[in-house]
Amino acid sequence: MSTSHVLDQKSKTAGYEADGSLASAANSVYETKQLNLWYGANHALKNIELDIKENEVTAIIGPSGCGKSTYLKTLNRMVELVPSVKTSGQILYRGRNIFDGDYGVEELRTRVGMVFQKPNPFPKSIYDNIAYGPRIHGIKNKKILDEIVEKSLRGAAIWDEVKDRLTENAYSISGGQQQRICIARALAIEPDVILMDEPTSALDPISTLKIEELVQELKKDYSIIIVTHNMQQAARISDRTAFFLNGEVIEYDKTDTIFSNPTDKRTEDYISGRFG
């Protein structure tokens, strides 16, 4: 892994201070305070404290079962689909606690899009996949929908590949293309944040590369939080990295710091491949 390359990339991104401290000019989209989560009796997240910054890519790494996916799914409350889940603490999204009784999950998920581990397009045409979000949120005008579909597919760098087959079923294209359709689908409602749950783990290296490049492009307009089990990927694409272990945040810092100079021994062991 070429650290210097990573550093080069970082230096292009504004908002960093020379000493590498966490204090940043960027605003927080998410502030997590004393978050605990249980699956039944299993204490899956323990006292999580994390601030996620605007227009950055935040990577969450850690071994299997460390709670990284759980944390990501808590950010848009998808985790509540598991019947036995209990939470305590707060997650402030743009200053408002997402667990507040009057905060509708639909409202939250309209602002916070998600891309899943395995591509999960709807069994509909490519066009209808992208138009689904705008349609359920009340946009009916065909011309506007056409524009949104094109813009979203361009945004997900897949327009040229599918522009002549918009009426075909989304399952007729390759897995890597399907995943970019899912990204385009999330972009179609112009969310504020995009959560990505190991979005490349089911894809081949070329598709993975395309999605990594896409993430770099997207962070200009969106705040992205990506869970990955691939440490090289985290190093390549993220601005900040959180290392999770056994439901705790062990270390959270700028990505170059985490990968070049971690403070915690366990982080160092993990990134150097001694466990996980």
Binding site: L81, E106, R109, G113, K118, P123, I136, N169, R185
Partner: protein, 323 residues
């Protein structure tokens, strides 16, 4: 190997005279076992042929007796005649349209009752009910399918009809609405259960994708699950229609026996199946035209249900969603 040096012999306190391999070798020699092995597929084939041959026999009887019927009554009169008067003293008339219309009236009402309720039940079971609720409700729903149709017939005649009459006094004792509703109730479990199977097999990941877009639960069910499961749902409806067309006991008891070629649902009608029951109960002797007419009607019924089953098969294969 000597038979006395078996390793188990001493410790266990009994003596094995031979090794297991020797015993196996001996029993292999028995002709008996090989003969049974060879005969089993033959016997199973014969047993399986019985059901196939029976079906072929029924088909042939149906076809030959129907042909005999058409030597006496012209096929155009049968297919396009609008009067069904087999018991007339002057000149019997065999136009099947009134019986078809009677069948269609009952089927139409049954569909109007069963499709909305059946699909709603399926949506509830697949997208809303918790695992525990589903575990209780689905078998209960399937119990409905086990109720003998004669019970449904009584239910139509002695409960639904009086209820309808108290609301709409114009309705006669025998009518198309009451048996239609009850046939509808009878086919609800079929639609609900088969549609629920189709909807439950839509992967969870697809629903999660829709929920993560900010969809409500109902939007997911209505815009994602139902369209994705549409082929299964349509197939279940078509199969249920075929079941409604063939339904006999309920209409025999509650629909009356007046073949009519009109659009009236409130008075007595007769369906194809009910006519066959009427004749089979002994109103006509063997060899009469009336006797042969039940085969012609039965054959028509068979064509109807066969077309429905083919359509259901086609729909579920052709429109299967890929996911």
């Amino acid at each position: 190997m000597s038979s006395h040096c078996s390793p188990f012999g001493v410790e266990r306190g009994f003596i094995m005279r031979q090794s297991v391999q020797e015993m196996i070798a001996q029993s292999k020699g028995k002709k008996n076992k090989q003969f049974v092995e060879k005969m089993i597929p033959v016997i199973l084939f014969l047993i399986a042929s019985v059901s196939v041959l029976t079906t072929i026999g029924i088909m042939l009887t149906l076809i030959f007796e129907t042909i005999t019927f058409f030597t006496r009554v012209s096929i155009t009169d049968f297919l396009f005649g609008t009067t069904w008067l087999p018991f007339s003293n002057k000149e019997a008339q065999y136009g099947i349209l009134p019986l078809i219309v009677g069948t269609l009236k009952v089927t139409l009402i049954a569909i109007l009752v069963a499709v909305p309720i059946g699909i709603s039940a399926a949506i509830y079971l697949s997208d809303y009910a918790s695992e525990n609720v589903r575990r209780v409700l689905k078998p209960l729903l399937e119990v409905l399918a086990g109720i003998p149709t004669i019970v449904y017939g009584f239910f139509a005649l002695t409960f639904v009809t009086p209820l309808l009459q108290s609301a709409f006094p114009d309705i006669k004792i025998f009518n198309a609405i009451s048996p239609g509703i009850v046939v509808g109730i009878m086919i609800i479990p079929m639609i609900a259960s088969l549609s629920e199977d189709a909807m439950s097999s839509v992967p969870k990941s697809i629903r999660e994708g829709a929920l993560a877009m900010g969809s409500t639960k109902f939007e997911v069910a209505w815009k994602i699950t139902v369209p994705a499961a549409l082929s299964g749902i349509v197939a279940s409806v078509v199969l249920a229609i075929s079941r409604a067309i063939g339904e006999t006991m309920i209409v025999s008891l509650a629909a009356g026996s007046t073949p009519k070629f009109d659009g009236d649902f409130t008075g007595s009608i007769q369906t194809m199946t009910a006519y066959i029951v009427q004749v089979s109960k002994g109103d006509a002797g063997y060899g009469t035209t009336i006797y042969y007419s039940i085969y012609a009607v039965g054959f028509t019924l068979f064509i109807f249900t066969m077309i429905m089953n083919i359509v259901a098969n086609y729909v579920s294969k052709r429109f299967r969603e890929e996911y």
